[in-house]
Symmetry: C2
């Protein structure tokens, strides 16, 4: 229970990658953290690419980032939606400016690129958005997990074990 009393916010929207959404949520809860799911609306069930459901606890607009110790952004197609939401971008910047851990995997880097926080950071992602991250100023590497200051990134579902080891380490410290 190494994350007892830690509060983590996770973004959620339709067509998240099912394992990339759920593995970190369950894993953080296993470590004792309280995970709050934020979506476009509160109390709504969003489905992943395969159809695994997840209900949101709160709307993006109602989140007070100061209540949280870290942020998780899942992959899939959901980040294509999330990056268009002004509250998502504002929250992402708030976590970053407070140097709080932000975990993100696969296509989630789009959200960080649109929040304009990746310049000068070494990151990984699905190879599909390598160009977008580099054009946003990131240094892109092809590794299962990359930690640069407060940003933890991974490429795809098989990276989740290594990715969560590092995200938990960072949230603990």
């Amino acid at each position: 229970m190494e994350l007892l009393e830690k509060n983590v916010l996770a973004f959620c929207d339709t067509d998240f990658e099912d394992l990339e959404m759920w593995y970190p949520v369950l894993r953080l809860r296993e470590a004792g953290a309280t995970v709050t799911i934020a979506g476009p609306e509160a109390g709504k069930v969003y489905k992943g690419k395969y159809g695994v459901p997840l209900e949101s606890d709160i709307s993006y607009a109602d989140v007070n980032s100061s209540r949280f110790d870290g942020l998780y952004v899942p992959g899939g197609w959901a980040p294509d939606k999330m990056r268009r939401d002004a509250d998502v971008l504002k929250l992402t910047r708030e976590f970053h400016e407070a140097s709080k851990p932000i975990g993100q995997i696969c296509h989630a880097g789009w959200v960080l690129a649109s929040a304009k926080i990746v310049k000068g950071y070494t990151m990984t992602s699905t190879p599909g958005i390598k160009d977008d991250l580099e054009n946003a100023g990131a240094i892109w590497v092809d590794e299962e997990v990359v930690v640069d200051r407060n940003l933890v990134s991974g490429r795809r579902p098989p990276d989740l074990p290594a990715f969560m080891r590092e995200l938990i380490n960072l949230l603990k410290s």
Copy 2:
């Protein structure tokens, strides 16, 4: 990496519950264990109830249980298929007779009931198979996780965090 050098076998067949299959597999890998996926055939992709895929490494028939430190049986509809397979039942009995940890969740109790290993054990499961487990001689309780000697049981996907805490503890000892 508390399970480094541990080898865990996981049964897999069509219509597993997606999170109940994948969360423990990824979680055990995160802890450093080597997880081998056994199915009716080797090298075949099986899909969960929602469609999340998982490829088997080995066929049930080719597994040598003495190579493994523990067994995991997922829920969903897959256990309805698994319990009809003589190799599944033989393997389950071998792990049990060797007092090796067996983790099982939701409908997976059917496999243990057909392997005739639950008599006198306190267990939980989805309420749907409570009667089947009691008729097989188990003492059924409604708790998120139950450990009785080498058997660890859980009810459903939201129990996965508590369930994996206990399964990892048992595999470690």
